[in-house]
Subunit: 306 residues, 2 copies
């Protein structure tokens, strides 16, 4: 069981020699997910050894080109390699039209089914995907274009079977689902398999909140407060002295990202989407840490366990 994120791109709109447009690779247990897909994402996946063919879900935050321009090329590459498993893209209205115009002019017929799910226009948290182990919801941010954040929450039973006692107590497989939920199980012969004897408490479920391209939204941070954010990614395009620039361009500063982390009660903060004006990022890190010490830089190629 693993829950981790690898940074593929962390520039703001203008890339630099060492920073590519936004993209992240998220592994949630068996799910492999792409978060935004900036220009060059497929090359970054090659560079960092990401198994790009295992991804089957892509979440696009908004339709500024630095957040999705890698998508037509990545989807084409999968097709050239003969992929047959479907791909699901969760994106703002318009993504389908954009992809269609590329595929039409390039006479590209994908070898797999591409399902495009339009993000809902409601402002509240809305679940857009779930299975037995993962729940993904989206929520509105505030940028120059409609923009969404995403919350990835692990789904976990409160208890797990104590492997040390499975053989000794001959726990039948049938009992597992009851015990994991915290319910005792009695088999057909009347033998009791109690939660207390057969299980240990599971590790708490973890979660990842992805918030890019937005002005500072303290009300959203309050809303996230009771959602147990293990790792928060919040854009920090500018340092604090350029707050006016952040406001003007609908972005955030280091201190705003750090205050958001504080207010939302996140355990850890990752900052990224750095303006091309910063060569050295240590000043941004220091500024964010002055408010929220558990901050790290989203640097390309780094993997963070959630």
């Amino acid at each position: 069981m693993s829950f981790e994120v690898t940074i593929l791109g962390t520039s703001s709109a203008t890339p630099t020699l060492s920073r590519h447009p936004t993209s992240q690779y998220l592994v949630c247990n068996n799910q492999r997910i792409l978060l935004d897909c900036g220009e060059g994402a497929q090359m970054q996946m090659l560079r960092y050894g990401i198994k790009m063919f295992r991804i089957d879900k892509i979440f696009i935050s908004h339709l500024h080109p630095d957040h999705y321009l890698g998508l037509p090329g990545y989807l084409s590459t999968l097709s050239l390699k003969g992929r047959i498993e479907p791909i699901h893209v969760y994106a703002p209205a318009g993504m389908g039209e954009i992809l269609d115009v590329h595929f039409r002019h390039g006479a590209i017929h994908l070898t797999y089914d591409l399902h495009i799910h339009e993000l809902p226009s409601s402002e509240n948290f809305e679940v857009i995907y779930q299975d037995s182990g993962l729940e993904v919801s989206c929520f509105a941010l505030e940028h120059r274009l409609p923009c969404w954040g995403f919350l990835f929450k692990e789904k976990k039973s409160p208890f797990k079977i104590n492997e040390d006692v499975i053989a000794e107590k001959k726990i039948p497989v049938k009992a597992f689902s009851y015990l994991k939920k915290g319910e005792d199980f009695i088999d057909d012969n009347g033998i009791l398999y109690s939660v207390e004897e057969c299980t240990i408490p599971n590790l708490p479920a973890v979660s990842y909140a992805y918030i890019t391209d937005t002005i500072y939204l303290p009300a959203l941070a309050e809303n996230l407060r009771n959602r147990d954010i293990t790792l928060l990614y919040h854009e920090a395009t500018f340092m604090e002295d350029l707050r006016h620039k952040a406001i003007e361009t609908y972005h955030s500063t280091t201190l705003q990202a750090a205050n958001f982390a504080l207010k939302s009660n996140a355990k850890k903060l990752l900052i990224g989407h750095f303006s091309s004006r910063y060569n050295d990022l240590s000043g941004l890190l220091a500024e964010a840490r002055s408010v929220f010490p558990f901050t790290e830089l989203a640097e390309e190629g780094n993997t963070f366990t959630i």
Copy 2:
């Protein structure tokens, strides 16, 4: 006066760890030109120190995504940096619609004028741009989509003023244009400035032919024979043992590229657009050189003087 090409990307449709989608940067005297603009071209320009803001003409060979996907991002970056000088894009029909869908959904209003010139559908050589120093013509290739090659020809007067005698003979500026064309000049006082005394023969004009994504076209090579090709770029997606694959996918092999160079009487050949199956390119080079010894690999970051 310089005429040189820098390779920015040389992969075929699927990029590899060391090869990016097609793009080349061409300097023809004062002109700075982009030839195709595959995904990641703007990052490659940063990597190789190309002054991307000086480019004002972009030629796109065809609408397969590996040849133009870098264009929306590159054009957006120029706008974010506040460019005001116009950009001219010479591309197949459809390029305008593709760019428009990106700009519309991204609410992007370019800070400069973007002129899109649709490539003509005629099969013959057609001049699509010229000024006092450069002539660009396009011609039809044969690929799975309509595809064009481009011929960049330096325009040069046959003579240049002999700088050693300018002062000595007090050659008036007014005489220069006559002398360069090979005409004697007599000033108002009846003094003769002769071509023989005042000029030296100019270096011959050079030319660059760019031929990517096509089956082998020997008739085109014959057509190019009298056009004095100094440097020929010809795709060589496959080695000769995969000729059937080249035919099937409308591409060329190393030997076909080399034979094209022979037939067209080009002075030098650059091969590129290599299939992702080749890690080591030395076999492709050896194969091409067995037919045409003056062959080089179009490797990224390399600059070739024309």
